[in-house]
């Protein structure tokens, strides 16, 4: 059984684009389930339900949880211990002006810890920092240094330990989930009628929709994805 874990950023991207429902459709093609961790549920559902802003979006996520399309992973004592360690390591890996920079928050690391211990097939994260930390911490150091206009020291030991703990995690983004849904025809209901370029228009629309709602995908990548999909449909 495959387990795909989602970070809050990926769920938010999908919801803000009215695409959260594709999880249900994708599940039919997945021999497994989609998961979030309890802290992510609090960020996505419990907290916004106490406010007016994003209350309806929270209800949309809740509906997916209630339908079983999105399951809540159990936070075991082992996951709790790993989550503490990951949070500590990530937040003591980069130093500037004499202080460790707290770059990540508990939800992101709890999601990662539960994903690791569940043997997740993939971790879906749209926000740039966690993704860079997992895949290319050198680029994250460059980003911090470039934006903060100051030298950023790296704690190589902590970073190496973090990478060792997370080495089996494979990262995708909401955009890849949407692309699979697009290729499977799940999004065909949105094809504009009366134009031979309907599929290209739909692809462009969903890619830009995701980008403009926060998914970390560059314009160059959008162009590349469009070229890849054009070849697939040939």
């Amino acid at each position: 059984m495959k387990k795909i874990f989602l970070d809050s950023s990926a769920v938010i991207s999908l919801t803000l684009n009215n695409l959260l429902w594709i999880l249900d459709a994708l599940k039919e093609h997945l021999d497994g389930d989609f998961f979030i961790c309890p802290e992510i549920k609090a960020e996505l559902v419990d907290n916004p339900l106490n406010t007016k802003r994003f209350e309806f979006e929270a209800l949309q996520v809740l509906a997916q949880i209630n339908s079983g399309a999105l399951k809540i992973a159990e936070l075991t004592p082992e996951a709790n211990t790993l989550y503490d360690e990951l949070l500590h390591l990530a937040n003591t890996s980069f130093k500037s002006k004499g202080v460790w920079i707290n770059i990540v928050h508990k939800g992101e690391m709890q999601a990662l810890a539960t994903a690791i211990l569940s043997g997740a097939s993939a971790f879906v994260v749209d926000e740039r920092t966690t993704r860079l930390l997992l895949e290319n911490p050198g680029a994250l150091r460059d980003l911090l240094q470039s934006k903060l206009h100051t030298r950023v020291e790296v704690n190589r030991q902590n970073l190496a330990r973090f990478r060792s703990l997370t080495r089996q995690i494979k990262v995708i983004r909401s955009v890849e989930l949407v692309l699979v849904a697009y290729e499977l025809g799940t999004l065909d209901r949105y094809l504009p009628a009366g134009t031979p370029e309907a599929r290209e228009i739909l692809l462009d629309a969903v890619l830009w929709g995701l980008k403009l709602k926060g998914c970390a995908i560059s314009e160059d990548e959008i162009a590349q994805v469009k070229r890849i999909e054009a070849r697939v449909s040939e």
Binding site: H29, R53, E108, L143, K147, L148, G214, E221
Partner: protein, 180 residues
């Protein structure tokens, strides 16, 4: 308060007084980004509140009169003097009074002011996220939700920077997870 933070805030307050006196609203808005580096590194309330205060002032001053400006100037000057003397509690208390004053200004509706302050939080959050702090961490620092932040940051061109490649491999891997 870290000394580097104190010095930066003093500099920002001095500049703010100048821009308010000269009615340079766009410069004031730009000035609100000057403490973002410190917000990202120290994640301290003082750096954050100054960024939010200066941005909110720049928006509110577009619609207010001279009486409002003189009250704000008096308050900034008092806060700055206290901070210069390292009287941090008095400084913070004055900044809080200034935030309260802005929130209660009767030249605009309360709803508009709340919107301005909320917008300031999200905009400054967007800047902190651009600096490499994660979405959830940034939202937590500012006391906003990741929903608000995510909806805002997508409009920033800078979020596309420093993204690692692997586009093709990532898509191929995603395809392999699902049956046709």
């Amino acid at each position: 308060m870290e000394e580097v933070v104190r010095q930066d805030i003093l500099s920002v307050l001095a500049q703010a007084e100048k821009y308010i006196l000269e009615s340079k609203i766009s410069d004031l808005k730009e000035l609100s980004n000057h403490t973002i580096h410190n917000c990202s590194i120290f994640q301290d309330h003082d750096s954050i509140i100054i960024a939010v205060l200066i941005y909110s002032l720049s928006k509110v001053m577009e619609k207010t009169n001279g009486e409002f400006s003189s009250r704000v100037l008096k308050s900034i000057s008092y806060a700055r003097n206290n901070l210069m003397l390292k009287k941090e509690e008095e400084y913070r208390s004055e900044i809080q009074k200034l935030m309260d004053y802005i929130s209660k200004t009767d030249s605009m509706t309360r709803k508009y002011i709340q919107e301005v302050i909320q917008q300031a939080m999200v905009k400054k959050g967007g800047r902190i996220y651009e600096h490499g702090i994660s979405m959830a961490r940034t939202a937590s620092i500012l006391g906003i939700t990741p929903w608000e932040l995510m909806a805002y940051v997508g409009q920033s061109a800078e979020v596309g920077e420093f993204i690692s490649g692997r586009t093709r491999q990532r898509l191929e891997f995603a395809r392999s997870l699902f049956k046709k």
